[in-house]
């Protein structure tokens, strides 16, 4: 099958490539752009490990063809930290609150949480749990993931983080 030229912005930089129409976005990111942060977990659009931010939406890059993303503005976990290596507030929050165990789901969790906080600066615990319901953590570390997102939200809003009593 003839290959198509695709051009997109990935983590603020132009990215081009030749792809077969059947090339999934996750394969383009991982294999052609060498961005191996987004993971292939279930490969059936359930687990959310492949989540990337695309034109202001969280999408599962295992369920989209690279040609569909032609012209899009994409952000992956590699684009979260500042150029000088300063962690994004969500990355800092996941570290501080122990929001990761094996780390496999973390790139998807952080990229999803980024969009959640862009849409809702001060989510309740229930809104956080609903907002990340498309991301599975097989270590079942949800408690600290929720806490990390609360920590990041507090920091973004400039208020002290108060841990809820357990």
């Amino acid at each position: 099958m003839a290959k198509s030229q695709v051009s997109m912005t990935v983590n603020g930089k132009p990215a081009d490539g030749l792809v077969e129409p059947r090339t999934l976005l996750i394969h383009f990111l991982r294999e052609q752009l060498n961005l191996t942060g987004p993971h292939i977990g279930c490969d059936t659009s359930h687990c959310g490990a492949c989540t990337v931010d695309l034109d202001g939406k969280s999408v599962k890059s295992c369920t989209m063809f690279a040609v569909q993303a032609n012209g899009a503005d994409i952000r992956t976990i590699e684009g979260m930290a500042a150029a000088d290596g300063t962690l994004h507030v969500l990355q800092e929050a996941f570290r501080e609150m122990h929001g990761l165990q094996c780390g496999f789901c973390t790139p998807g969790m952080i990229v999803r949480a980024y969009r959640l906080l862009e849409e809702n600066k001060n989510p309740s615990e229930e809104e956080i749990r609903f907002g990340i319901s498309g991301n599975l953590c097989r270590c079942t570390g949800y408690q600290n993931i929720v806490k990390a997102i609360q920590y990041a939200a507090a920091k973004i809003n400039g208020v002290p983080f108060e841990e809820a009593a357990e």
């Binding site: 077969e20 059947r22 659009s45 599962k60």
Partner: protein, 287 residues
């Protein structure tokens, strides 16, 4: 998992899309959000030779009021339905339904058109559209036509859509102000299809039901419009005995498969339980 090879087409108008589909013939499939089709292609259960991506057609997007109806473009996403103030105020049943479909990432991409047109009895919107008395505007090389949602579903993955036709929008009559509504869905986990689900639209006057419509999801090869159950309830005060008769009438038209979601008799019973809950919720919201 890697799908089979195909050629990708991205028309920018409805006219271009239907002539492409006509020219390419049976091996071409329209692509909406792709969250049903792409998983099928990855499993090689579907292997179209051509995909006609509808995402570049502005005329298929948007939600607008048109007289006594709301018209929702086929490529409108579930996320856009959830966010729509027009729908929240006029037809809140849609938002309630979208919020129990899949998960946030899928709702950003999955479309109303894909949900209603692909004929999967597990999809939630078809029964809701039957409940609301919506109609589907479709267009093909032989022209445009409108099909009632209640006449659209013929079997599993079998609809009134003819080869080469695409759905352009869904036209939904705005229910009377003060109507009660509910979509109750039993599912095993986030992202699952319904074990059973029920949609209810209810108009009440002085404690008496003046109009009622009921749709059922995933308890037969097609979505179901439970006309007889609704007729039983119309004119009643939703007293326990009448509700019980309506549940029996609704359960009687189900014929679910026995699968991972439970044996058939259980799913039939759950259709009744979801309907009972939806009726109670709709009654509480009606004023």
């Amino acid at each position: 998992m890697i799908p089979g090879s195909f050629a990708y087409h991205r028309p920018t108008s409805i006219g271009e899309a239907i002539s492409l589909l006509a020219d390419l013939g049976e091996e071409a499939r329209p692509l909406a959000g792709g969250h049903s089709l792409i998983p099928m292609m990855k499993l090689r259960l579907a292997a179209p030779e051509h995909l006609v991506d509808l995402a570049g057609i502005p005329d298929l997007k948007g939600i607008r009021a048109d007289g006594s109806d709301v018209v929702v473009g086929a490529m409108t996403t579930q996320h856009e339905i959830v966010a729509s103030e027009l729908l929240a105020s006029k037809i809140p049943l849609l938002r309630e339904t979208s919020l129990v479909i899949a998960d946030p990432q899928v709702r950003y991409v999955g479309t109303l058109g894909g949900n209603v047109a692909n004929g999967d009895p597990g999809n939630d919107m078809p029964a809701v559209m039957m409940c609301l008395g919506a109609s589907y505007q479709v267009v093909g090389n032989s022209g445009e036509r409108s099909i009632s949602a209640r006449d659209f579903y013929q079997g599993t993955y079998l609809t009134a859509l003819r080869p080469g036709e695409i759905l352009t929008n869904v036209r939904i009559p705005i229910p009377v102000a003060g109507h009660g509504f509910a979509y109750e869905k039993l599912k095993r986990k986030v992202g699952d299809y319904a074990t059973a689900a029920a949609a209810v639209l209810l108009t009440m006057s002085g404690g008496t039901v003046t109009a009622c419509s009921i749709g059922l999801t995933n308890v037969a090869g097609t979505p179901l419009w439970a006309e007889e159950a609704a007729n039983v309830l119309t004119g009643s005060t939703l007293d326990a005995a009448t509700v019980k008769r309506a549940l029996t009438a609704a359960e009687a038209i189900t014929s679910p498969a026995s699968d991972g979601r439970g044996p058939a008799h259980y799913r039939t019973k759950m259709a009744g339980v979801m309907l009972a809950r939806a009726l109670a919720s709709a009654k509480a919201r009606a004023h």
